[in-house]
Amino acid sequence: MTNREIILGRISEALKVAAPHPALQDNAAPVPVVSSPEKWLPPAGATLEEQVELFRQNAEALMAEFRACATVSEAIQYVKTLAAAGGWKKIGRHRGELTDSVAHELGLAEVQTDRGYAVDDLESCDAALTECEALVAQTGSVLVSAPSAGGRALSVLPPHHVVLARRNQMEPDLTAALQRVQQKFQNKFPSFLSFISGPSRTGDIERILVLGAHGPKKLTILLLP
C-alpha cells in the first residue's frame, strides 16, 4: 500500500460515522448554505468612485500611500519626486506598458527581472516598480501575480514598492478580485499570486507595530486613468 492509500483509507474509514452539519446543531432549523460571503463581509462601494475612496481609506489605514493621478505624466512626475526624496540610484522593475513609460522618464540604473536576475543585484535596488492584477476596495489590497509584477521577489525585496494600476483594475471586494484572476487564467494559473495589504510589518516585540520587518518599508499605489 502506498502512503496515499494508507491516509485516504484512514479518512474514508473515519468518515463512516457522520458528523452533524453545523446548521443542524443546537436543534436549530436547517439553514441553507449561503454560497457567497458578501452578505456578511465588510461592505464595498457600489460605484467606482465610492470604491476608489474606500480603497484610499483602507490603504492609508494600512500605512500605504495612495494617489489617484489624472494622467500618466502626472504619475511620472510623482515617481520622480519619490525618487528624488528617497535618493534612488537603482530600481528594480519588469517590462510592462506602465512600468516602461515611467522607468523611461526616470532614467535610473535598472534591474529588469523578466528574464531572470542576480539576487544581490535586486536586493541592492532602492525601489521596485510593478504593475498588478487588481486593487481591492474592501481591504485596500493590491493583488499581484508572477506575470503582472515581475515574478515573486520584485514586490518584496527592495525597500520601497511602487505599484502602477489602472482604474479599470479596481474591484469592490476579495470575491470579485479572485473571480477576476480565475476568469483571466482559467486553468493556467501562475505559480504565484499575492494580496499585498500595506508595507511589511511586525508586532512581535511587545505587540508594537514596526514597519519594514523583512519586506518593503514603504508601499505607494498610483491609480492611473
Partner: protein, 466 residues
C-alpha cells in the same frame, strides 16, 4: 499523576504567581481586544460570517478524501511533488531526503506550527542541516532555544529589554530599547540568509482543492522571501487545511486576520500553485508539498469532536482564555496551547497522558464564543474528561463523588455534615496548608469563608417557633 500533569502543575503555579508575566500578557492583549472588536464591527454580520465559515469547513472536513484528491491532482499537474506523510517520522525523513538530494547548505524557514508539531528543526539539525527561523518572533525564541509561547505571537512573553539583552548576547548588537531598532537588527541578518539559503521551508494556512494551491498568511514578508529565492521550496501542510474553493478565501482571509491578530487583513496573503512555471522570472525549481496526517485521522474518526479539525490556528481562543492568560503558553508543554491545544493534544499524543489539560479550564465558554469557525471547544473538554474516565475509571474520584451525592440527597446527612464542619473548621485552621491538611492543595493559596453559625434551616425553625 503522570509526568506531564506534574510539569503542568508546577509551571502553572510558578506563572500564576508571576505578576510581571500577567501584566505583560494583559498589556499585549489589550490592544488586540480593541482592534479585534473594531474590525469585527466592520463586518455586516460577524455571526453570519462565522456560520458560513463553520459550514464551509464542515463541508471540507467531512469530504476530506475527495478534496485532498482534487488538491493533489491539480498541484501535480503543475509540476509540484506531493508526499503523503502518515506520521511525523515519514515527514521528517522525506524532508531530510530532499535536503540531502540537493546537497543543501543553508535552510531558511518561515513560521509553521505543523513543523513545530513534528520537531522538524531538531530532525534537520541532527542530520547536520542548519535551519534559520525567519519570522521575528520565531527567530527570537529560536535564539533562546525555547518553543513558541503562543500559536500566533511566539515571543509575546518577552519584554524589549529581554530581547535587547538576547540580541546583545547572541548577535553582539548594541543594546537598545526601541522595538524598531531591534526589528532592523533581525532584518539585516535575515536578508543575508534569504539570499544565501538554497532551501526554503514553510507551512500553509489553507490548501485550495479547486485550483491546487496553498495559501500562506503573514505580516512580515519573511514567508514570501523564503518561498521566492531558494531553489527548493518545501511546504508542510496538515491534511485538515483544505478548503473547497478559491472564493472561500474571500471569507477566511479577513476572518483569520480579525480573529487572530485584530487586523482588517493580514499584510501578505499569498497563493502558491507550483514551482516556477515556464516564462516566470523566479521561484523555486522544485516545490514539494508534504501532506501530514500524524493522528489527524484519529480525531477525524471521533465524529463528536471532528469539528476540532475546522481550526484555522488563529489563536483567538488563547487570547480570551482566563487559564492561558494566567498559566502562560509554556505551561501547557504542547505544540498547540490554550483551549484548542487542550482539546486536540489528547488526540494527537494520547488521552491518558494529556487528560489533565481538560481540567485546565474554567468552562466559561469564552473560547467557543470567540472561535471564528465555531468549534465547540469547552464542550470538547468535557467530552475528553468523560472519555478519559470511561477508558480508565478513577476510583477515588468516583468514591468522593458518590459520597457527595449521598450527602446532598439526604437532608439528615447534610445537616450532620454542616455541624461537623462548623466544629472542624477552626481545627483545620491550625493545620491549614501543611502536610496534615487534607485540603492543602486548595487552602495553600486560598482562604475558605467561615461557615455560618446557624444554617438557614435552623434560622427558619427559630422564626417559626418563637
Amino acid at each position: 499523576m503522570n509526568v506531564y500533569a506534574k510539569e503542568f502543575n508546577a509551571s502553572a503555579c510558578r506563572y500564576t504567581a508571576d505578576l510581571r508575566h500577567r501584566d505583560l500578557i494583559q498589556k499585549a492583549l489589550a490592544g488586540y481586544y480593541a482592534k479585534r472588536d473594531e474590525f469585527k464591527g466592520r463586518f455586516q454580520s460577524w455571526s453570519g460570517a462565522r456560520d458560513l465559515a463553520a459550514e464551509i469547513k464542515w463541508e471540507a472536513v467531512n469530504h476530506l478524501d475527495r478534496y485532498l484528491d482534487e488538491f493533489v491532482s491539480r498541484l501535480e499537474a503543475r509540476g509540484a511533488k506531493v508526499f503523503w506523510a502518515p506520521g511525523a517520522q515519514e515527514a521528517q525523513d522525506y524532508i531530510v531526503g530532499v535536503a540531502r538530494q540537493h546537497k543543501v547548505r543553508a535552510i531558511i524557514k518561515s513560521k509553521s506550527m505543523t513543523a513545530e508539531e513534528i520537531h522538524l528543526n531538531e530532525a534537520l539539525e541532527k542530520k547536520g542541516f542548519e535551519v534559520a527561523e525567519s519570522d521575528l518572533g520565531e527567530y527570537i525564541v529560536q535564539l533562546r532555544k525555547e518553543p513558541p509561547y503562543h500559536l500566533v505571537f511566539p515571543a509575546m512573553h518577552l519584554t524589549r529589554q529581554q530581547i535587547s539583552d538576547l540580541f546583545h548576547d547572541k548577535l553582539n548588537s548594541e543594546p537598545t530599547n526601541n522595538p524598531e531598532d531591534l526589528t532592523m537588527i533581525a532584518r539585516r541578518i535575515m536578508r543575508r540568509k534569504y539570499c544565501e539559503a538554497d532551501m526554503g521551508i514553510s507551512g500553509a494556512n489553507f490548501a485550495i482543492a479547486e485550483t491546487g494551491m496553498i495559501s500562506i498568511t503573514e505580516n512580515e514578508g519573511n514567508a514570501r522571501l523564503t518561498t521566492s529565492l531558494p531553489k527548493v521550496h518545501v511546504a508542510l501542510v496538515g491534511i485538515e487545511k483544505v478548503l473547497p474553493k478559491l472564493s472561500d478565501l474571500a471569507l477566511f482571509l479577513p476572518m483569520l486576520a480579525t480573529a487572530g491578530a485584530g487586523q482588517s487583513i493580514t499584510c501578505y496573503n499569498t497563493l502558491y500553485g507550483g514551482p516556477r512555471q515556464p516564462g516566470e522570472p523566479d521561484g523555486p525549481e522544485e516545490f514539494h508539498v508534504v501532506l501530514l496526517d500524524n493522528h489527524r485521522t484519529e480525531l477525524l474518526a471521533d465524529a463528536e469532536q471532528r469539528d476540532a479539525l475546522h481550526c484555522i490556528r488563529c489563536g483567538a481562543c488563547l487570547n480570551v482564555c482566563p487559564i492561558f492568560k494566567n498559566v502562560g503558553g509554556h505551561s501547557y508543554g504542547t505544540t498547540y496551547q490554550g483551549p484548542i491545544g487542550s482539546v486536540i493534544t489528547p488526540h494527537l499524543r494520547g488521552l491518558q497522558d494529556w487528560k489533565h489539560l481538560s481540567q485546565a479550564s474554567s468552562l466559561c465558554g469564552a473560547c467557543t464564543e470567540t472561535c471564528p469557525v465555531k468549534i465547540n471547544l469547552h464542550h470538547h473538554l468535557l467530552h475528553n474528561r468523560r472519555n478519559a474516565v470511561r477508558a480508565r475509571p478513577a476510583f477515588l474520584e468516583k468514591l468522593i463523588q458518590s459520597g457527595f451525592v449521598l450527602l446532598m440527597r439526604r437532608p439528615a446527612f447534610y445537616q450532620l455534615a454542616a455541624r461537623v464542619g462548623r466544629i472542624a473548621q477552626p481545627l483545620q485552621r491550625l493545620i491549614r496548608g501543611t502536610f496534615f491538611d487534607p485540603l492543602r492543595a486548595w487552602t495553600k493559596t486560598r482562604s475558605f469563608p467561615p461557615l455560618a453559625k446557624k444554617s438557614f434551616r435552623e434560622l427558619w425553625r427559630e422564626r417559626k417557633t418563637p
